[in-house]
């Protein structure tokens, strides 16, 4: 054993302590590049009086000239709906695909994660609020080069592109084009969404998507109205069914916030609905809440709550229930639906061992649902 390992962690602490003065002279990373001009949006109608009505999401907002939509990315400029979500992402990462969360899509692979600022919802506990609750004009964006990104993706054996961190449907115009190009470049395309979108744009987007994670944040209209900033739950459930009907791979996720959506009834209701409407093979991710944004006063989700939710999901007939944002935990692993032996073992987002053989359990031969190759 190398005891000098003991001190490794101090390296990063030391960076902050020792290098601070030098870094202050080096430059400010918060400096943002000049925002690109907006481009005309799709999915809207002109009302003849200078106002426009956005048809992208169920907010169905009418915007007067100069008004931004709730998403902070779409704006009425002179009677034309324009979007700032056009090739100036604020996030570009190489992430494990499990982080989406997607546990049944190319496990252990890396995904090119991209996000523009903005979201049509106002989750009080948003875990990415620095990006989601901003206008793309106001974030530190990067000059995105699609050809360069795809070339690097090939070089790094990245297998997919994911719209995540913020709401990918908000920037649907740019994202549809990028998704189509990514598919041509041989990448699978995934979306992490709140599902709060109208059927027509969702149908268009689904044409260029392979897999979607939808967050079902709670199971009452009241919860969606008070904590999420949406009119209700129904559009989200409709989106889930539309995605399933379109034959796209779908996983659902619920961030469990203590005292808000953690009752046995609410969680069992979600599980029951998923089982009945999306099928028992739909993976359900139970995500641990960490105090963020406007809910700094709530505690982290207790481990016992997540474990009880997992038990509830399984007792409602869901075959693949996962615990996320808590690791190491047995709830991170994928188990065969039939023999219940672990077939993919994970440490958080990291795949430690994948025993699946062409999507089949190596022990009993059962085929597991998902996109494995």
């Amino acid at each position: 054993m190398n005891r000098r390992d003991f001190l490794t962690e101090l390296a990063s602490l030391g960076i902050a302590l020792e290098l601070g003065p030098s870094l202050a002279h080096a430059g400010a990373p918060a400096d943002r590049g000049a925002a690109l001009p907006p481009a005309e949006a799709e999915y809207y109608a002109q009302n003849g009086d200078g106002s426009v009505t956005c048809g992208l999401c169920p907010h169905h907002e009418t915007l007067r000239p100069g008004d931004f939509g709730r998403c902070r990315a779409r704006i009425n400029l002179g009677g034309v709906l324009q979007t700032y979500g056009v090739g100036q992402p604020c996030v570009l990462n190489v992430d494990p695909i499990e982080k989406n969360p997607l546990n049944h899509v190319l496990p252990g692979s890396s995904t090119l994660a991209i996000a523009h600022a903005g979201c049509n919802l106002r989750c009080q506990y948003c875990q990415n609020w620095q990006f989601s609750q901003e206008c793309p004009r106001d974030t530190r964006n990067l000059r995105f080069d699609q050809a360069e990104a795809f070339a690097l993706a090939r070089e790094k054996q990245i297998k997919s592109l994911t719209f995540t961190y913020t709401e990918g449907t908000t920037h649907i115009e740019f994202n549809k084009r990028l998704a189509a190009a990514a598919r041509k470049a041989g990448l699978r395309v995934c979306l992490c969404s709140n599902g709060y979108i109208q059927p027509k744009p969702l149908a268009d987007f689904l044409e260029v998507l392979d897999a979607v994670t939808v967050t079902i944040k709670g199971f009452t209209d009241a919860f969606y109205q008070t904590c999420i900033g949406a009119a209700g739950l129904r559009p989200v459930l409709d989106s889930c069914q539309q995605i399933r009907k379109a034959g796209k791979w779908l996983e659902v996720a619920t961030l469990i916030v203590p005292g808000l959506n953690d009752s046995d009834k609410e969680l069992a209701d979600i599980a029951r609905w998923v089982q009945a409407n999306l099928g028992p093979d739909t993976p359900w991710h139970l995500e641990r809440f960490t105090p963020k944004f406007k809910m700094l006063n709530r505690p982290q989700t207790p481990q016992a709550t997540l474990e009880e939710a997992m038990r509830l999901g399984q007792s409602e007939g869901l075959r693949f229930v996962y615990i996320s944002n808590l690791a190491p935990h047995e709830g991170n692993h994928t188990r065969c639906a039939r023999c219940r032996r672990p077939v993919i073992q994970r440490l958080g987002f990291k795949v430690l061992r994948n025993d699946l053989l062409n999507g089949q359990c190596p022990h009993c031969g059962t085929r597991l649902p998902g996109i494995w190759t």
Binding site: F6, T8, E18, L19, N93
Partner: protein, 341 residues
Amino acid sequence: MMGFLATLGLSVSAARAEMPAWERALRALDAHVHHLSLLNLVNGLNLTREQAAALRRLALHVEAAADAPPALAEPLPGALEAVRKTYADVAEALAAGRAVTPEAERRVAEARAAHVRFIRSTLLPKPLAPDSRCANCHTDPAAHRGGAQPMPLTPEVARQAELAHCAADYGWAGLVALTQVSPQVEKLLTAAQKAVFCDFSCCLVPPHDMGDPVRAGQADATAKELDLLRHVRACPAPHWPAARADLLPRFDAVTELVSPGATVERKAAVREAIAKALDHARSLSDTQFELEKAALARAVRDALQPPAADSPHKAAFFLLVPGSSKTYAELLRKAERAEQP
């Protein structure tokens, strides 16, 4: 050096104690570092009640054979008391399940810097003899007339130092007991829990990077390295040569934090590796950088980190450190309280 000694308050009365004051301080702060690591592991491994109970039993077995650990609450002389107090405060927060604030994190970094200065002030230029007593490599800071002198860690010296440190933590009988129960520790941990130890180094403050849900050890936390890279990229080209010249020597202090005995050669090697990563970061386009940044941040971190040796007893070493039985007992009490209606 006498001034430094006076600052530390290593008094004549302390020197008269059975163990020299400088050795007592070295051992006590080392025990604090171990204790913090243990708390991080206990908080981050998500142990079940059964696992905690089993670890407590094994810890008691090792403790029965091991040397008694230094008393963590016992004050240390002079400036080292502030270091001890900072470590103890963080331990208290971690034990209570509270988050470590950025301010506390900053204090830990400062405490660690003072801790390292003290370690360096005790280091001899080379070992006195091929054995594993503390006094083989360390001495009373008052004995130094020319300031801290780093000891080159040849493989042979490193091996001796390793053994000496383990023996200092556990005592020889404790080490034997540890190796005996080590297979049982391996058996009771899950595969995922064991995987945490692959990259585990001592962890004063747990990682809180949401990019990785693992909260024990270093996980993949490179947030500060990333921040450094972004600052460096933001530096205007005309200012970069001066900023670079100012920045790189500062890594010497960081290298010492990681390796208190770092030699001039080691520091130069670190500087060179980091310079390479920083220059590369600056040469990339936005898109290239965003896709390369994780690897570059790891390169910076790895440059500072000496290559890690592995051991079949690593998990047991960290989990059964003398005094750990009390930590498990407290964990079990908490679990019991949580289960009460």
